[in-house]
Structure formats: C-alpha cells, structure tokens
Amino acid sequence: MSGALDWVLVAVAGGLGAASRFLVDTLVARHNRLSTPLGTIVVNVSACLLLGLVTGWGSSHPGGDGLAAVLGTGFLGGYSTFSTASVEAARLLLAGRGLAAVLHPAGMLVAGLLAALAGIALAS
C-alpha cells in the first residue's frame, strides 16, 4: 500500500465486495426455509476460504503484496462482515433463542477457521 492508485483500488474492491455480499445474502435469504439467518454464514465462510487462498498465495509470492491487499483487505474485507454476524447473534439472544444464539456464531467461527485452513493449504 504505497501509491494513491492502491487506495483507489482498495475502495473500489471494497465496494464490489460489499455489493457481492448483499446479492449473495439476498439469494440465500430467498431460498432459506429456516427461521435462522444463513446468508452471513455463507458469505463469511466463503470469504475465509478465499482469504486463505490469497494468504497462501501471498506467502509464496513476495512481490504480490499490492494485489493481496486489494483482494484481501479490499474485496474480501468488504465482502465479509463481522458487524452483521454480531447483530444476528444478538437478535437471537434477545429473542430468547439461547441455543441458536450460541450455535450460530460458534458454527460460523469453526467453519470459517476450517475454510481458512483449507484455503491456505490449497494455495501453499
């Protein structure tokens, strides 16, 4: 991250990532028959797999820092979201759905970690 162009690319990639999240979440919500939201889980776990791939690729390509920043910090940072995951769990908790309020974030965390590990292993 040195030149002004890098920051512009991060901004554009972040915007594209956020729009992709909105579209994937809308698509998942349309097909989800459960009372528990699944869109953010699909988005965040796929983002972890992809960031694992970018991280694994970056560690074996030292010159690729700029591209890794645009894809990792920009696109995937904008695509994945922590705040929506927190609010979804908070709403489950406040609605008295204690079990779902634990399983939703725990499942997302475990699946995200496994996806990141798989991505790093695949790209290394």
């Binding site: 729009a19 999240r21 579209l23 904008g78 705040s83 929506t84 927190s86 908070a90």
Partner: protein, 155 residues
C-alpha cells in the same frame, strides 16, 4: 436517488440497491484499510486494530438497525440508510475474513492460547457490543416517546 424516493411508487431495482451498498462499502473498507495501515497489527500479538474495528462496528450496527426498526417500516429512506450505512459502510468497515485469518495465524504460528482467546473474545465482545447498541437505541426511542407526553404524566 430517484429510485429510493417513495413518491415515484416504483420499487428500486436490485442493481440500484447493490449500487448503494457498494458506495457505502467503498467508504467503510477504505477507512478500515487506512486504520490497518496506520495501526498495523504486530505478528504474534493481539490484533487490536481489527478487534477495535469489529467491536465498534458491531455496536454501531446494533444501534443503527434498532433505531431504524423503531422509527417505522423498512422502505423508502429507511431502507436506503439501512443498506447504504448499515450493509454498506458498517458491513464493509468490519471484517470477518481478516479476523479469522489473524486467529489462524496465531493458532498455527506458535501462539495457540492467544489465537483461541482472540477468536472467542472477539465473537463474545462483538455480540455484547451489538446487544449494547440495540439496548441504547431502544432506551433512546422510549425516552423520545415519553418526552412527547406532558411533563409529570405517567412514570
């Protein structure tokens, strides 16, 4: 933003809404990238920058969404603010992928206890912050409603 004006009585297209999310997301992601650049995390230690971004973003999103829900139906300008500021700015500001890969780097890089603590504390404090934001917005909405009544009427 004619597509978001309820007076046109036309439902905004998915592409227009995605464009609104993209504008907000570009702002949120750039602010996060600047913070991560200036306050770059030190490998092998607690990633304070991402942690603070995610906790602050969770609190703000909880407060924003609860304020919007309590002010009226999710259409028109409310939907615009929810998608542009909530899904866009705050969704793009916070990050799950960076958080998980940071935890993974600690877990597999010889700092397993720190990695486990970072992962669990981030999720728990994030949910707590979202609950606090929701509670604050709910209390403010209640106070505002109570303020409409004449002084001394009711508790």
């Amino acid at each position: 933003m004619g597509a978001l004006n309820p007076a046109t009585r036309r439902r905004p297209s998915l592409v227009a809404l995605a464009g609104l999310v993209a504008l907000g997301g570009a702002v949120g992601a750039t602010v996060r990238a600047l913070l991560e650049h200036v306050l770059a995390p030190v490998p092998g230690s607690w990633p304070w920058t991402t942690f603070a971004i995610n906790v602050v973003g969770s609190f703000a999103l909880g407060a924003l969404l609860e304020t919007l829900v309590r002010s009226g139906p999710d259409s028109g300008w409310r939907r615009g603010v929810r998608l542009g500021c909530g899904t866009g700015v705050l969704g793009g500001f916070t990050t799950y992928s960076t958080f998980v890969v940071e935890a993974e780097r600690l877990l597999t890089g010889g700092h397993a206890p720190l990695g486990v603590a970072y992962a669990l504390v981030s999720v728990v404090v994030g949910i707590g912050a979202a609950c606090a934001g929701i509670a604050l917005a709910a209390a403010r909405a209640r106070r505002r409603r109570a303020g409409v009544r004449p002084e001394g009427a009711g508790a």
